[in-house]
Amino acid sequence: MNKTTAVAAGTSNQLKKRSQFKEVWHRLKRNKLAVISLIVLGLLVLMALFAKQIAPYYYDNQDISVALLAPGENPKFPLGTDNLGRDILSRIIYGAQISLRVGLVAVCISAGVGCILGAIAGYFGGVVDNVIMRIMDVLLAIPGILLAIAIAATLGPGMTNAIISVGISGIPAFARVVRSSVLSVRDMEYIEAAKAINATSARILLRHITPNILAPILVQATLGIANAILQAASLSFLGLGAQPPVPEWGAMISNGRAYLRDYSYMVTMPGIAIMITVFAINLLGDGLRDALDPRLKQ
């Protein structure tokens, strides 16, 4: 009898120990591509954090005597130099700070506002839901990049304004995802139980609903970061985002446009940096989606 109880206790402990997070992490680890993307992203984050120490030069160091050197032409400038003699590698390293910040902050804005609006719409329903979702419909009727361009033009050129515009244009997508997720758990028994013990709406939303709808939010956020980086690059390319001499990758491509015929590396190098970053984030997003999908548990 005692043995049975001990075995049962052991099993329950084991079950307890294996939290949802651990289980997801375990499944994510089995996906080789997701692990590679995590390593790449880790390296990118380190590159951004220690840009000052890693970069051979400061991003705005100009030396006209070495302008327009092709990659490999001078070992001091492995990825070449631009029209002002600035080291492209150093600018790409510093650019990682900007692109990652754009992605994270813009998604924080989209997710913060979108989740609150979506949760309120889904939980309270009725008129509140109708009003919020019709406003979201209006925003969704304008293509994302056009919305971002219009807001960026209103706020004026600059990186902070570009981040805000990209963040605002991402709100409707989050609101929709969160609303539908809240609707799927709103009538569950544990929510009714929480209501029965007189828990406030805020407490139910924060303590009971949020943990159960985190999976789709996490996937949306990961893919949102990739999208935000691409949108911000487009804004900078159009002259509505980062302003010279800020080494944002989209702005670097825009700067190299006039030299495309003879010095194409000024365009290809920052483009490759964008591609690798967004590719790694998309791979992680796909991996997370698979790891969080209960149908793929086995």
Binding site: I149, F279, D286
Partner: protein, 320 residues
């Protein structure tokens, strides 16, 4: 079905009205005086004030708004602050280029994305599947303007096969359409693959195989037809995205379309042009979404049946 289309068309009115309010407000609250932008920094305050009066910018905001709405309802989108020509004429001249670009890229997206997605799903985990999914993910990860520039570099500057910029004929359409199409094809490919994978394991596919049906017929007639709904949704969304993204692509290829016109207008605070352009794009996007919903009914009899059954109870109720 007709009643549904009518209802959806009516529902577009508040959405478009909302778009008008939104774009009107954000433009009018933006810093910078359009009159000053038109006349330049050297203009005297009196001249600027006179132009503000002429453009109606001195009137209260809500009067400006209602005048604008009244104009739009009668087909008058106002006059451009810069060219002083009717906005509607300029939009109608430039919109075909944007539509050709968006339409061609949708064609490329379907021709490239759909077959690869199908092959990838039918040969899951094969080399072909892994290669195409990886390439698709790379395609999604590249900015469209960068793809455009790479295409120009290889096909125009290096090989000299196609023109670098402009929009004077089919040869000029290829590179811009591909630069948007490649990116969207990757999205369609991913959606086709996942949608086909969900369908391909269904019982009716097993039954079709057991009957001895050819694999080609199983894939194209049984599986694809049932997997089409989410794919068509994404195609509709992509068309909308491409209308918006045309601003960037048109800027790369110097195409005289609506996107590049709006971009210039945004930078010079030419409010009527921006408002008109956004309303046109939003209306097209909404119409595409409606078209997508109608296409659902043609490819999925279950959806068609829903339209019919939603009418029946009302008729019965009236009869009772």
């Amino acid at each position: 079905m007709l009643r549904y289309i009518g209802k959806r068309l009516l529902m577009m009115i508040p959405v478009l009205l909302g778009v008008m309010v939104f774009i009107f407000l954000i433009l009018h609250f933006s810093p910078g005086d359009p009159a000053r932008m038109v006349l330049g920094e050297s203009a005297t305050q009196e001249t600027v004030e006179a132009l503000r009066e002429e453009l109606g910018l001195n009137q209260p905001l809500f009067i400006q708004f209602f005048k604008y709405i009244g104009g739009v309802l009668t087909g008058d989108f106002g006059m451009s602050y810069i060219s002083r020509a009717p906005v509607i004429d300029a939009i109608l001249t430039r919109y075909p280029a944007t539509l050709i670009l968006a339409g061609l890229s949708v064609l490329i997206m379907i021709i490239v994305g759909l077959p690869i997605g199908i092959i990838s799903a039918t040969r899951q985990y094969s080399f072909m599947d892994r290669a195409s999914t990886t390439i698709a993910l790379v395609g999604v990860s590249m900015p469209t303007f960068w793809i455009g520039m790479l295409l120009v570099l290889f096909f125009s500057l290096r090989l000299g096969w196609l023109p670098v910029s402009g929009f004077y004929g089919p040869a000029y359409w290829i590179l811009p359409a591909f630069s948007i199409g490649i990116n969207s094809a990757a999205i369609i490919m991913r959606m086709t693959r996942s949608s086909m994978l969900e369908v391909i394991r269904s019982d009716y596919i097993r039954t079709a195989r057991a009957k001895g049906q050819s694999e080609r017929k199983i894939v194209l007639h049984h599986a694809l037809k049932n997997a089409l709904v989410p794919i068509i949704t994404i195609i509709g969304i992509q068309l909308g995205t491409q209308l918006g993204g045309a601003m960037v692509t048109e800027s790369v290829f110097s195409i005289p379309g609506l996107g590049s016109y709006m971009l210039t207008a945004i930078k010079s605070r030419d409010y009527p042009v921006v408002q008109g352009g956004v309303i046109f794009i939003a209306a097209t996007f909404s119409m595409v979404n409606l078209l997508v919903d109608i296409i659902y009914a043609f490819i999925d009899p279950r959806i068609k049946a829903q339209y019919k059954t939603s009418r029946k109870p009302k008729k019965e109720a009236v009869a009772q």
